[in-house]
Amino acid sequence: MHRVLAIALKDLRSVLKERTFLMAVALQLFVAMFASVLTFGLLVLYNPTYADIRETANVGLVGDAPVLESVLKAVKYDSIQKAMEDFKAGKIEAIVWLPKENLSSTNFVRIYLPKEEITSIKASVFLKNRFIEYEKRMRELRGIPGDSGLKIYSTSFKKEDVPEGASIPFKLIYVALIPLLMLTTAATVAGMYIDLITEEVESKTSYVLLASPLTPLELITSKMLAAMILSAALTPTWIVLLILNHVEVHNYLLVVVISLVTCAIFISIASIATLAGDREKAQLVFSLAVIAIIPLFFSSPLTPVGLVTRIAAGSPFEMYAVAACIASLSMLYPAALISQKLFRS
């Protein structure tokens, strides 16, 4: 045990010395920042009010459409050519074209928006809301209920305004970002495990180590220990990062546990992959295995990914799945036993 710890500590020291640890943290920061860019970008696309973009736009209307005209409050044009002229000159941001409004059958409306301009997002959100209103009016004119009439209240029965698309950032954080941070950590740590093992083999230092009373199993255990200690250091880092970004992480101790289990699963796979021979082959086998396993992690709520999503979001979760997850920590042992073969030949 003492020997195992000594080797693990030696490896961790070299990781710190090469500043690879700092880089791993920077990597997490990077993933988190880009996820927030993506979240923000999608929000702006679907709901510009988030970015303080006011939903007004100068719209030109072409055609004989009295109801649409009253809903849109648009500038009226006689011909599409005239409207296009003003559109190209930047006087209006959108053209709505409905040649003849039909009160009893379907109206097909053509909209022209500027291409590759941010104003186009603003204008399209404005038009979307106006057209929902137009749809409601037209339905009512036909004696059909205009909208579902659904109301939203707070718990004190005051009317509540829930922005449309509020679920998009929420789901991106808990369904994509948190699992992604967990998986990046696991892949980084497992990749490092492969390096620790193959470096000893390829520089032939493993011969020296194994000539001492150290057994192959102990050598592998020490490398696994180093990798697990690194995971235990990296996981709280991304959780703190999230909390600093005002993301609420519930049950964070359990989140750490699930993340460590995921690291252990990846390290086990990496350990078996080292049997491929050198670093190049081992990393290749490992990457392929990881690519195969990651989609599966997202395909059920009972996987570590499904569990971490709900645990971090504070939703109810299955205790038995957590127990099964923790039990899979024991995978490390058979993996170590199998990969011993590397040192036999």
């Binding site: 070299s14 690879t20 927030s36 860019v37 993506l38 970008g41 696309l45 599409i80 050519q81 296009m84 190209k88 930047g90 074209w97 059958s105 109206n107 409306v109 053509r110 022209y112 500027p114 291409k115 590759e116 186009s120 997002i121 979307k128 057209f131 137009y134 749809e135 037209m138 339905r139 036909r142 009439g149 659904l150 939203i152 209240y153 707070s154 718990t155 679920s167 369904v175 699992p179 990046t184 892949a187 492969i194 620790l196 193959t198 670093r279 190049e280 082959k281 086998v285 990457s287 392929l288 690519i291 195969a292 989609p295 992690f297 997202f298 395909s299 059920s300 996987t303 979001a313 939703s315």
Partner: protein, 555 residues
């Protein structure tokens, strides 16, 4: 030269042939097919890891996978929401929501489920009469932002002739086709797809993005990442086992060795892209968009393989750079069609060409030139690092890069060229920072951005000057050449007018005398060069203060 190149490629192939035994190849094929099956399975099944994410209580059952339902009377349900045990309570045409982000998200999803049910019910009862409006959108290019940019330049004494040209083009009105009548029968209540246009109900109308198409791009890029990974692994192995030194002792130049080793993997990448385009039924023209990315990515990996100290360091570099490059090429594609700078990525162009859009030569050059240029610079640096004194030293990567740089510069005017060559890298780093920082409130983000730009630019310039000094070039002359080169590189982008929008965001038009600041900060660095980190900080601070002052005065 060519013969040597091929013989090195042959050696590389023979090495991998020996390495990859039949059983290992079998394992790899097996794993790849498992990966394919698992990807296919998840694509069909969809994401299920978020099942039962929300808790809804109430007398009405919600049959949707995101919701866990507690069938309770309304009063008890509202009490649960109050206690934070449920996210929302569902009553008769109303939702009671809690205050947390999760409650709001649950309410939002519940609302869209109810909306969909309502639409379906309307269709059942009233048929197509209940859907009086369908809309279709066409995006039309106009030259507005371009004119604003020119007007600003005009104020600074810029090009007046082009302004006239822009006005002329404005006067031309394109012939507009009258839309063909879409087919009348409505099969589904939500969308009607005619031959050319897509008509949707107002609720289903959203701004364009290529998010859904991104998955295609992944299939095109991913196999090449693997090829690059094997290439760099093989390279680092050759370096550590000193096989590289043997190859270099032959008459083959470092460049030939590097290219010869890379050739088989390039062929592999091209073959994979071709295979993917056949499988997905896309044009083989995808190659012209993917190749610059492959070249850049592989040369980056080659540079790290030659310069990293250990496998561990290499692994971290590989993972970080893959993420970085992936983000740089994929994120802009998400915003294509709405944000002009999205064309900075070749992937955006590839996806829009799949959509049937024409990509102009200018757009192609704008997005790919930087990748070709960076690939050239990186492979040059990698080849220069392939000497035993750099490859086997235990120095850090940054120091080795400076070493490799110094071997590129024999005369002071070389410094000028190197500074120009640094511009694409600066562009890439600053673009990434800009896209990350735009999340911050604008009040801070301008200051933070200008600060980081100052640090990035000064660091690049300082490394070049340091490398020049290492080569015993005159420090102050090199500093002037470096500042001037940087300025020229920046202006080249402006003059070529390929990045109008980007410059707009970079506030480039505000900096009237950037030449002076570029040269004076490098001179400052050269003066303080014996304490490099202190010198970089001082130069960055001066740069930052200058830019801030210019922005304050002009804005």
């Amino acid at each position: 030269m060519i013969m040597r190149l091929f013989s090195i490629s042959r050696l590389e192939l023979r090495k991998s042939k020996k390495k990859y035994t039949k059983s290992l190849i079998l394992v790899l094929i097996l794993l790849s097919s498992v990966a394919l099956i698992s990807a296919y399975f998840s694509a069909i099944e969809g994401v299920k890891s978020d099942n039962k994410l929300y808790v809804v209580a109430g007398p009405y059952a919600v049959n949707e996978r995101h919701f866990l339902c507690y069938p309770l009377p309304l009063k008890k349900s509202i009490a649960l929401v109050k206690a934070g045990k449920a996210d929302a309570a569902l009553g008769n045409l109303f939702i009671v929501t809690g205050k947390s982000e999760k409650s709001l998200a649950a309410t939002d999803e519940l609302r869209s489920i109810i909306q969909e049910l309502f639409d379906r019910e309307l269709y059942k009862r009233y048929g197509s009469k209940a859907f009086p409006v369908f809309i279709s959108v066409e995006y039309v290019k106009r030259e507005i932002s371009y004119q604003i940019e020119l007007a600003r330049q005009g104020r600074e004494g810029g090009i007046k002739g082009e302004q006239k040209e822009a006005q002329q083009s404005k006067a031309q009105i394109p012939v507009i086709k009258t839309p063909e009548k879409p087919p009348a029968p409505i099969t589904k209540p939500i969308t009607v797809i005619s031959a050319q246009e897509k008509y949707v109900t107002p609720r289903n109308f959203s701004p364009p993005n290529l998010l859904g198409k991104l998955i295609y791009a992944f299939f095109f890029i991913l196999p090449s990442y693997f090829a690059a990974q094997i290439f760099s692994s093989s390279l680092i192995e050759d370096r550590l086992t000193k096989r590289l030194d043997v190859l270099l002792s032959t008459p083959a130049s470092p460049h030939t060795v590097l290219m010869g080793k890379f050739l088989p993997y390039l062929v592999l990448s091209i073959a994979s892209v071709a295979a993917v385009s056949i499988v997905l039924g896309k044009s083989i023209a995808a190659l012209i968009y993917v190749i610059p990315v492959i070249l850049f990515f592989s040369s980056l990996q080659a540079f790290f393989a030659i310069n990293s100290r250990s496998y561990k360091e290499m692994t971290f570099f590989v993972i970080s750079t893959s993420l970085f490059v992936t983000a740089y090429i994929f994120i802009p594609a998400v915003f294509s069609g709405t944000i002009p700078v999205s064309k900075v990525s070749p992937i955006t162009l590839m996806l829009s060409s799949f959509e049937g859009e024409r990509v102009s030569v200018k757009e192609y050059l704008f997005s790919t030139f930087q990748f070709y240029a960076m690939a050239a610079v990186l492979s040059l640096l990698a080849a220069k690092s392939m000497t035993p004194e750099i490859a086997h030293s235990s120095r850090g990567i940054a120091e080795k890069a400076v070493f490799a740089l110094s071997s590129l510069m024999g005369k002071e005017w070389h410094v000028f060229l190197v500074a120009i060559a640094a511009i694409p890298f600066v562009f890439m780093v600053e673009f990434m920072l800009l896209s990350v920082l735009f999340v911050l409130p604008p009040y801070y983000s301008v200051a933070v951005f200008i600060g980081i730009v100052a640090i990035v630019e000064e660091t690049f310039k300082a490394s070049i000057v340091l490398a020049a000094v290492k080569r015993n070039l005159l420090p102050y002359m090199s500093a002037i050449a470096c500042g001037a080169g940087f300025f020229t590189g920046e202006k080249l982008i402006l003059v070529l007018n390929i990045a109008t929008q980007y410059n707009n965001l970079l506030l480039a038009q505000f900096f009237v005398f950037p030449l002076i600041i570029h040269i004076s900060t490098t001179l400052l660095f050269a003066f303080l060069r014996h304490r490099p980190s202190f010198a970089i900080s001082v130069a960055s601070l001066v740069h930052f203060l200058y830019n801030m002052a210019v922005v304050m005065v002009l804005a």
